[in-house]
Subunit: 185 residues, 2 copies
DNA sequence: AGGTACTTTCAGAACATAATGAACATTTGG
DNA sequence: CCAAATGTTCATTATGTTCTGAAAGTACCT
């Protein structure tokens, strides 16, 4: 498969950013390429277009699958597998957030929980636990909030985001109108 | 400096998570240690407690400074520098988000912008640009939304987050009450 | 000036991660 | 059943990242 310069540039950029986004260079390139190509691509096409080994592609596919970022397609009379991005850009972003939360936050949260179960033995530990508690509460709030957002429909999310700073006004508004109605949950 | 087992465990955990959070093992450990110790620590104390070289500590300090995560303190009659976490946990989380946004999103956003300035030359490019546009809009919305949130006071943010799913209700509420008032910005 | 207490830098070693490609496994059509 | 086409695995190689420690730098004393 032939790429125009601009497409090349995008694919290579995604490769460079790959590791920052939680996967590696080739996986970034592979996903970028699948995203911008109208037709699903086979493993061989990926390998040839990106100049990476067939084995590497296979491992990359496996990883992208585990992130639920691609779907497999078949063409009639062809036993090759063809790959294409799974779902909309929104869904993709959701998946990436979720996966990263699992890797970057959940383990820490569970360590903190365990730690906070024990009584502190001295002043030093008392101080430390206080700090851990703050982090714990923050992380917990972030994960809960994130999963609430994920549960919202894309339209509502979009409304909420476009609202931007307006959110602040709405909060004031609500407090003035119905102070009893404050959330307790 | 002596650490209890639990404090050890936390520090080591942060080391392991370090690279997932955007810095490296020793930097994660250093920051964790500073967070849970009541007194500011000197570079030597960090080096000895964590069993890492003095040079490594120096580089770590530099990096933590660039993330604006630590503050330098001095004790009277002592020329050593002592380090402690800068600001509250909230501020720390803010800083980390911001830094990561700069590294993980901004470069892509600017590549996409450049790319979208050019006219597509053929069908293949037309399709690709369509996809890039979607990503661009998504990323832009995320960064704008994120900076709005950062601008909110911690109290309001907290209210908003505790609200959780309630956000959805408020959106409905607003739409019913004052449909003309929809945000245009 | 010279000495001491501290910090920073950076080349190279140690370690960690990713990529290759040949061997192995699987599926399908004949 | 065999052979061809495709997919997967994994030991080895290649690349990238982090850490060390010795040397150089800085600031402050007397």
């Amino acid at each position: 498969m032939e790429l125009t310069d601009k497409m090349q540039a995008f694919v290579m950029h995604c490769g460079e950013m790959g590791s920052r986004w939680g996967f590696n260079r080739t996986i970034g390139q592979m996903y970028a390429l699948l995203l911008i190509s109208e037709e699903p691509l086979s493993a061989n096409e990926l390998s040839q277009t990106l100049h990476i080994s067939r084995g590497n592609v296979s491992m990359g596919i496996k990883e992208l699958n585990s992130w639920q970022l691609i779907a497999t397609r078949h063409k009639p009379g062809d036993r090759k597998e063809y790959y294409q991005p799974a779902g909309s850009i929104w869904q993709m972003a959701n998946r990436v957030f979720e996966q990263r939360r699992k890797r970057e936050i959940d383990p820490t949260l569970s360590l903190l929980r365990d730690n906070l179960l024990d009584e502190p033995r001295d002043q030093q530990e008392r101080y430390a636990q206080q700090r851990l508690l703050e982090i714990h509460d923050l992380l917990e709030m972030i994960t809960e909030w994130a999963s609430e957002l994920q549960r919202l429909s894309p339209e509502k999310l979009s409304t909420l985001m476009k609202l931007g700073a307006g959110v602040s006004k709405i909060l004031d508004f609500r407090d003035k109108l119905s102070p009893k109605d404050r959330t307790e949950s």
